[in-house]
């Protein structure tokens, strides 16, 4: 089983040498070609070469030297096999499950936003970030959990660092989750604003899910695949029907909603979906979105390979200086928090210490699932980057810059964007909107619509047809909205259980998850927490994403830093100090990025403080500043920015506190001359199998 002990044969050596040469050549083309657009295939080839080499060499190094995984050791699935949660499972099945659990909207949105700096900075961060940080985090947390009966991240933090750091980290997770739900819901709001076609198709997912739920409950229990195919057919039908709704004079106004109204609808929906029995709405939606997600990622890959688009966005734009319209801030640190999922994502540490370690049949398969799964996710991020960069830059900026900067008419937007050096005509913007069946594409920030236009153009190149581009656009919007809403439902439910647990400490009966009073109260609190940030985003003068995405990025990278710090502590506790840099350097990098970004968001020209002060000064003079039209609205914006300041402060404090706890643990373990990590004792796989 131990491949490390086998001497590589000459043919293999030549093969790896060839991959390295090809990879270096492609990377050279991607990084150095200037002035003329390059083909996306160069990026794809460079990514594949980097990932294959990273997997084969660095992944293996982490496996054998740092984690010292042992295929002869019995994993939790074998030791505690209960046929339900702990089940030794085929490695490809575990890989599929793990990938489906980590892939979401994050890797699709971040790279699209980061494309404002050009495709090169984001691409390089995804490629090298994933090999040295993201995949290392997922793999190491999986490895640690495998040696600890499949325990969760929170449990491992308590065990290895002490009860207090465990609680601090869990508070961080709850707050992070609220921000995640708000920012993802905002992506949906941005995509659906004044778009009757999209709003209709997304609204139709509710009756479709109810129908599927009833079918699964009473008609054909447990036939997930069958009902999902029916659901998919109905979804496609509703996309087709959406065009007629949008064209109808009587129906279109019903589905033509502004951002505020959509935010309220989503808040109400999130409440209902997480209070209702899961089989009715939440579960069927989940099945549909899981399959659609995998299918759409495959479709995107196919479209990129077949269409092989040219990248129209320059490799590097002038916006690396921090003046970009999509998000404010310099390349360092903001690129590294804007692309979180895809390069390194803290959330994955929760998945990697959740179901996956309870399913792996052998420690020797952990690299493929943990490290390999994250490389796949990074590839999704690369594809999103390609889809965004293959758009005309003028169209890209028109879609992603807030209305406060480019105005609300195609003429004005084209004029502003052309001044930035991305020459575009108003007609081109109007034509793009017409092609995808929308009235306007201006200021649809949040990644989803941009990706949808990119995907629609790619798919249209491969499968041309009258009106097909509008169909593909709405398909892409639907699929992103569907799985974001699933995350919102499920996240609200998880948040509700967390809140009930905390409330139970104060008043015991509230803890009973079956009690309706406790259920409704905790759900209301949970919805109010993320709903507040969502609504704030909907009324934000800079369009919301501009404000909330950095907050989300800081929070997500904070969790990644905590996970990598845990890995660092354990490496020292195992007395493998010479490998401390493997999780240590990425941990330090993420601490530096989160603190630097947090600092800039607290102090200085692009901070929440500056925004609050600006509105406060104008208000003190008795004037109004767009988009606020009343004193109350002005005050609302000031309060929102102050709340964001407080959130940033909380995240920074969490990072600092956790860093101190970890440093203390590292120093203590370094001085002791024997291993002190809390691993479960070794049991030979052969001994258990013999029973």
């Amino acid at each position: 089983m131990h491949t490390a002990t086998v001497k590589p044969n000459p043919a293999a050596k030549i093969l790896w040498f060839a991959i390295a040469i090809v990879g270096a050549w492609c990377l050279g083309v991607v990084a150095l070609r200037r002035g003329e657009p390059i083909n996306a295939i160069w990026v794809v080839a460079a990514a594949i070469a980097v990932f294959v080499i990273g997997y084969r060499f660095y992944g293996k190094f982490v496996e054998h030297r740092v984690l010292q995984l042992d295929p002869s050791r019995a994993p939790p699935s074998v030791l505690r096999n209960d046929g339900l949660d702990y089940v030794p499972t085929d490695k490809w099945v575990v890989f599929g499950h793990h990938f489906a659990a980590i892939a979401g909207a994050g890797p699709l949105v971040g790279p699209v936003l980061a494309a404002q700096m050009g495709y090169l900075p984001g691409t390089l961060w995804i490629l090298f970030g994933v090999v040295f940080a993201g995949a290392v985090q997922d793999f190491m947390i999986l490895g640690l959990s495998l040696r600890r009966d499949g325990r969760s991240l929170g449990h491992m933090l308590r065990e290895e660092l002490g009860p207090l750091p465990g609680i601090v980290a869990m508070v961080g997770v709850l707050v992070l989750m609220m921000i995640v739900l708000a920012v993802l819901a905002l992506v949906v709001v941005k995509a659906l604003t004044h778009s009757p076609w999209s709003t209709f198709t997304v609204a139709m997912t509710i009756p479709i899910a109810l129908l599927m739920g009833a079918y699964l409950r009473w008609f054909r229990p447990g036939r997930i695949l069958e009902v999902s195919i029916i659901g998919l057919a109905l979804l496609l039908l509703s996309i087709w029907a959406g065009k007629f709704v949008a064209d109808s004079a009587s129906l279109a106004p019903i589905f033509d909603l502004d951002a505020k109204a959509l935010a309220w609808w989503l808040i109400g929906y999130g409440f209902c979906a997480s209070v209702l029995p899961v089989w009715l709405l939440l579960a069927p939606r989940d099945y549909l979105s899981t399959f659609l997600k995998i299918g759409t990622i495959a479709l995107l890959a196919l479209a990129i390979f077949l269409a092989a688009p040219m990248l129209q966005m320059p490799a590097v734009t002038q916006f690396i200086d921090g003046t970009g319209p999509v998000f404010q801030g310099n390349l360092f640190p903001f690129l590294f928090i804007t692309i979180a999922c895809g390069a390194v994502s803290g959330w994955h540490s929760i998945i990697a210490s959740g179901t996956t370690p309870k399913l792996l049949a052998n420690e020797g398969q952990a690299r493929m699932v943990g490290y390999g799964g994250m490389l796949m996710e990074a590839f999704v991020a690369i594809m999103a980057m390609i889809a965004a960069a293959s758009l005309h830059p003028g169209v890209y900026f028109a879609m992603n810059a807030p209305g406060a900067i480019i105005g609300t008419t195609a003429e004005h937007a084209a004029q502003v964007i052309s001044q930035w050096g991305f020459v575009v005509t108003p007609d081109a913007l109007l034509q793009t909107a017409k092609d995808v069946g929308e009235q306007s594409i201006l200021s649809r920030a949040g990644g989803a619509p941009t990706l949808a236009v990119g995907m629609a153009q790619l798919l249209h190149n491969v499968m041309p047809g009258e009106g097909m581009m509008a169909f593909w656009y709405h398909y892409a919007i639907l699929f992103e909205a569907l799985f974001i809403l699933t995350t919102v439902d499920a996240g609200t439910r998880v948040g509700r259980f967390m809140i009930q647990e905390i409330a139970g400490l104060i008043h015991k009966p509230l803890q009973a998850t079956e009690s309706w009073a406790g259920n409704l109260l905790a759900t209301a609190i949970c919805v109010a927490l993320w709903g507040y940030f969502l609504y704030q985003g909907a009324v934000d003068p800079l369009g919301g994403i501009n404000t909330l995405w950095p907050l989300f990025g800081i929070a997500n990278q904070m969790l990644a830093a905590i996970a990598l710090m845990l890995a660092t502590v354990v490496v020292v506790k195992l007395k493998r100090e010479r490998y401390v840099w493997v999780p240590g350097i990425p941990a330090v990098w993420l601490i530096v990025c989160t603190l630097a970004a947090g600092y800039e968001k607290l102090v200085g020209p692009i901070s929440f403080t500056a925004a609050a002060d600006k509105y406060a000064i104008v208000l003190a003079n008795g004037q109004m500043l767009a988009p606020a039209k009343t004193v109350a609205a002005m005050q609302q914006i000031i309060t929102n920015n102050r709340v964001d300041m407080a959130m940033t402060g909380i995240f920074m404090a969490l990072v600092v506190v956790m860093t101190l706890f970890c440093l203390r643990a590292v120093l203590k373990a370094w001085r002791i001359n024997h291993p002190t990590a809390n691993e479960e004792p070794y049991v030979a796989l052969a001994d258990v199998a013999a029973h």
Binding site: G96, I102, I351, R493, T513
Partner: protein, 66 residues
Amino acid sequence: MELVARWQAFRKRAVQTARLCCGVPDYEGYVKHLHEHHPDRPVPSYAEFFRERQEARYKGGGGRCC
């Protein structure tokens, strides 16, 4: 014949993966586990098993990724 067997194995794995992605583990495996280790316990039907797992999936814990 070889090809048919291979296709069936592939299909079984694909169905298993798809179900697991939705939080439903392998039913046959569970029944086998019950027979081997807990012959005293009643064996649930697939519908019962499915319902129990559906409830369990949304009982809190990990959640899913952004």
